[in-house]
């Protein structure tokens, strides 16, 4: 009986020991995991990891043709020149902003048109609220405003409707930003193939650009003929300039930027 009691007691002790050791092992593993988590939290608190620069794989600047001296108004300004600028445009301008990496301001949206530019919800403000161009103009002051619209309106039947809306848009911008130099840019051409097969037609683009140029004169704003820096001898967009006949590659966006840098009113 005593032996049985002794054996039973020993077994109980052994069982307890096994449980305690297993518990210690499991707790050790779990504690190690928690320490690793705490370290990463402390590291975040100390310093935010800045985003890594992702190298662009596109063609470097040496293929960008510089404008000839008699084409430009001034020596190129630096990127900083555009820090107090605002760009208004559709997806082509969106591509320009992204591919040039300019530190600037932009109200750009795929499909933006002259009749929706002021009131369409574009982007978000610092509080995560959707904003419109009109709200942005009321809240901020810009020294230069660059506008390029028109490619999405090529399907409109009446060109005069297009230019009436464009004029209304610019007059509103002028009233909200009287201090700003306003540049309205020519609509860039499309490739010959695109022009042959869609509503994105170079003849219509040329008609719209004539109207835009006259509008600029009547409103006393600057017309920038950006297309001249990128069209070929046939006055169409070269195939190498675009991924789909309309939107520019990174190197052609750099050409666009170089044109803007050498055509500034203040430096003229």
């Amino acid at each position: 009986m005593t032996n049985h009691k002794t054996i039973y007691t020993k077994k109980r002790r052994l069982k307890k020991s096994v449980i305690i050791i297993s518990g210690i092992v499991l707790l050790t593993i779990a504690t190690y995991s928690t320490i690793s988590l705490s370290s990463s939290i402390l590291a975040w608190n100390d310093k935010k990891t800045p985003p890594k620069d992702i190298p662009n794989k596109d063609i470097p600047n040496d293929v960008v043709e510089q404008p000839t001296p008699n084409d430009q108004w001034n020596d190129p300004v630096t990127d900083d020149y555009f820090k107090d600028a605002l760009f208004i445009g559709d997806s082509r301008t969106q591509g320009f902003i992204i591919y040039t990496g300019l530190e600037t301001n932009a109200y750009v949206s795929t499909g933006l048109t002259v009749d929706t530019a002021l009131t369409k919800d574009i982007g978000f403000d610092q509080y995560g609220h959707a904003t419109t161009l009109e709200e942005g103009l009321k809240q901020n002051q810009y020294q230069k405003i660059y506008i390029m619209l028109g490619i999405n309106e090529l399907g409109w039947i009446y060109p005069n409707i297009f230019i009436e809306h464009y004029q209304t848009l610019i007059e509103t911008i002028q009233s909200l930003e009287p201090q700003a130099d306003i540049y309205v840019q020519s609509i860039l051409p499309v490739t010959q193939e695109k022009s042959n097969n869609s509503i994105y037609n170079n003849d219509k683009i040329n008609t719209y650009n004539d109207l835009i140029k006259k509008m600029a004169t009547s409103l006393n704003i600057t017309y920038l003929n950006v297309r001249e820096i990128m069209e070929n001898e046939n006055h169409v967009l070269p195939e190498e300039a675009t991924s789909d006949g309309i939107h520019l590659t990174q190197s052609y966006c750099q050409k666009w930027l170089e044109y803007l840098k050498t055509h500034t009113l203040k430096e003229k």
Binding site: G23, A30, K52, I54, G95, I98, T110, G111, T249
Partner: protein, 148 residues
Amino acid sequence: MKTKLLIITLLLLSLVLSGCNQKNVEIDTEQLLEELQEQLPFADQLSPIKENMIYHLYPIDSKNVMSITVLTSSGATAEEIAIIQTSDVEEAKKAIDQRIETKRNDFANYLPKEVEKLKDPVIVTKGNYVILCISDDSEKARTIIEKY
């Protein structure tokens, strides 16, 4: 009885503490971006967006962001990749949903065929990372992201 209670308590404690470790995920962003661009059939060249512009497109409080990288198309397609490391995963997910909704509205009238890509965008949460990939091959995108 006491022994069983002790075992259960220890097991539960271990599970809870080990579970916390799921948040301790580190993703090699550069490698993931490279692999996605190499393996997926993107129609357009994707380029990175400057951080100030990212917050214009994704409504996220920058104070919550540890790192953020967005690669997007020239405008010719709806393709995009976003990798957000954040202390507020729910905010990042909501911002991604809003970004996708904006793209759906933009492309619906402009390039309806691009809306197909936006029907099944890949959104994966791993620890405190939220990853978005809009491409023509959602299945492959998801497989690649899940490896990290």
